[in-house]
């Protein structure tokens, strides 16, 4: 085909195409190490989850594939021999409630700090940030007293109450940056139309800020799944545990690791979150951007 074309007409598109192909090859080459680093552990977890126990402990064969038929046993174990179903429900419930509490508190706070030119606003902002610096290690004992006073010990609701202590500081700062990007004119116009300041916030500012809100929710979700110590201290009843705690406390028995089920348990909660994350990734990016460019 190339030979049929005249030199001029054939050459240029081909070089452009070649250029484009070369560029792609270079990009893919550059991306390969990153993809290997990021994805290989996930692949390895997946294959471990599907392997039979005795297939794990073999040094003589290629470990990247199955040498005994793959098995659903590890997943089956999760759902029939542990409270994994409850753990998922708890994790999701915790994440949803934590996100809700975070939004209800951090949105007004971020708005007030960013827009209302309050005296001491800067110091209060820093104060809120400082709370993020206090390590959970020294907070969990006094907090367990509070959890007990609220009668929430051994209930996942204790975590719903405690997790906002780290999501609120984070999201307040994120939203603060975001609200600064919303043009004042919009608000002004709304207030001239007879909305109060609150009305302007609710009807005008929030609707244009939803990438920021989604970003906050995503952060609340992921942050609330990163905890281990609080859940360990406050929840010991199996059917109240969130996934990370349940998996790490019930699938390791001192000198035996249930590798397959451990990995299965991690993936079953991590991958769906990754998918949701991706659905909103563009909004997430513009949410961060909004917070950044000001």
């Amino acid at each position: 085909m190339a030979t049929v074309a005249t030199p001029w007409e054939g050459e240029r598109p081909r070089t452009r195409r070649q250029k484009e192909a070369r560029r792609h090859v270079l990009i893919y080459l550059g991306l390969t190490p990153f993809l290997v680093i990021a994805v290989f552990p996930i692949f390895w977890m997946l294959i471990t989850a599907l392997k039979q126990e005795s297939d794990l402990y073999r040094m003589d064969v290629v470990p990247f594939w199955f040498h005994l038929p793959p098995t659903w046993k590890n997943f089956d174990f999760l759902f029939h021999r542990t409270s994994y179903g409850d753990w998922i429900v708890n994790t999701m419930a915790i994440a949803v409630w934590v996100s809700a509490i975070t939004l209800v508190t951090a949105v007004p706070a971020g708005y007030a700090l960013a827009r209302l030119r309050l005296p001491f606003a800067e110091n209060m902002g820093i104060g809120i940030f400082m709370t993020y610096l206090v390590p959970p290690i020294i907070l969990f004992l006094p907090l367990s007293r509070m959890v007990s006073i609220l009668d929430l010990q051994d209930s996942y609701w204790s975590l719903v109450v405690v997790y906002p202590t780290f999501t609120i500081p984070f999201c307040t700062w994120l939203l603060m940056g975001f609200f600064k990007t919303v043009p004042f004119e919009i608000e002004e116009a709304a207030m001239l139309d007879g909305c109060g300041q609150a009305g302007a916030l609710l009807r005008v500012v929030l609707p244009v800020s939803w990438p920021g809100l989604i970003t906050s929710v995503i952060f609340s979700f992921t942050l609330s799944m990163q905890d281990f110590l609080y859940s360990l201290a406050f929840v010991s009843i199996s059917d109240q545990k969130p996934v990370p705690l349940g998996v790490a406390t019930e699938l390791i028995r001192g000198d035996v690791y249930f590798w397959g089920s451990l990995m299965a348990g991690a993936l079953l909660v991590g991958v769906p979150v990754a998918i949701v994350y991706n659905l909103f990734l563009d909004k997430f990016i513009s949410g961060i951007t909004g917070a950044a460019i000001k």
Partner: protein, 327 residues
């Protein structure tokens, strides 16, 4: 941007005149727009401030008290011992090891995250086929619960069945199992710290990349083009235009990440518990093993409060960023 500050200042001017006007009194000051803005503002702020004050501030004060007392896990009646616990920490050889490791861990990981994140962002910012898929795959490490993905790494770092070693060995880069060159990821002093660091990097670099990517995409192409026309090289454009524009979020992101990394117990606790011989001991594991498992609450609290001076630089950077972000 132009409208409200002017309006605002005229309003506060009005409120001032009312206040100076004297006799109208306190009640009517509350009705001025400025006052209403303040009340509205503090009302909005109140839930968040109360929440963290109650659930972080109060427990934190209690921990300060612990650090200054000889409290043990089972003894609520503690004596005030001043700075003894801090002195005890400073007399403890392991403490210095933990402090050094904490610093190396945090800053080493930050550098690695920065390098990996930046290069990845540069790749992802270009248009190419399959970009969405790549982006989707890259963020997975960030979405997995850390306590669980660490266990996946534990299995990959296994001294005997490490898949990494299997691959390296079959590529001829290291010897057979049992040979001198067979790396024991969590067992050799330098390597162990590097390994736990790498898990932290693995988890967070996708996030750094996404934040940087967000920053890069947000810089208007016209500015970049203009700079190109002016003959700015690629690195110059990056340094002079992109970095300053996304600096605020970078600082905030880095500050939060530093705090998270410095106080994160789970990676080291689940992989090595600080071993062997303190090779991966960091302040959180030392505080946990002394204060909680060993029962000496006061000393444990003192060790974890040593994190505070370490965090001060993060706060300083944040303060500056904050000022720069003012109107």
């Amino acid at each position: 941007m132009a409208g409200l500050p002017a309006a605002g200042s005229s309003r506060s001017g009005a409120s001032l005149s009312v206040a100076v006007g004297g006799r109208v009194g306190v009640t009517s000051w509350w009705r001025t727009p400025t006052a209403r803005r303040f009340i509205f503002g503090y009302t909005l702020l109140a839930p968040a401030v109360l929440y963290v004050a109650l659930l972080v501030g109060v427990p934190f004060l209690f921990s300060l008290y612990l650090a200054l007392s000889d409290a043990s896990v089972g003894d609520p009646v503690a004596r005030f011992v001043g700075l003894d616990n801090f002195k005890a920490a400073l007399e403890n050889a392991t403490f210095y090891v933990a402090l050094r490791n904490s610093l190396v861990f945090t800053f080493g990981a930050a550098v690695m995250k920065g390098l990996l994140g930046t290069s990845l962002a540069f790749l992802l910012v270009q248009p190419f086929k399959g970009r969405t898929v790549v982006r989707a795959l890259i963020v997975i490490p960030f979405t997995l619960p850390i306590a669980v993905s660490v266990l996946g790494w534990k299995w990959m770092f296994d001294s005997q069945f490490s898949v990494i070693n299997w691959a390296l060995s079959h590529l001829g880069l290291i010897g057979e199992f049992g040979s001198e060159s067979w790396p024991v990821w969590l067992g050799q002093p330098g390597l162990a710290l590097l390994s736990v660091m790498f898990v932290n990097v693995w988890r967070s670099f996708p996030f750094s990349a996404i934040v940087l990517l967000a920053g890069m995409t947000s810089v208007a192409p016209e500015i970049i083009e203009a700079a190109k026309v002016d003959g700015a090289s690629f690195m110059q454009r990056f340094r002079m235009i992109i970095v300053p524009m996304i600096a605020p979020i970078l600082f905030i992101g880095a500050a939060f990440d530093t705090v998270f990394t410095l106080s994160d117990l789970s990676i080291v606790y689940l992989l090595t518990n600080g071993g062997p011989d303190g090779a991966t001991e960091i302040l959180p594991t030392l505080a946990y093993n002394t204060g909680i498992r060993g029962g000496a609450l006061g000393r444990g609290a003192a060790i974890s409060l040593f994190l505070f001076p370490l965090l001060l630089p993060a706060i300083a950077i944040l303060l500056r960023t904050l000022r720069r972000r003012q109107y």
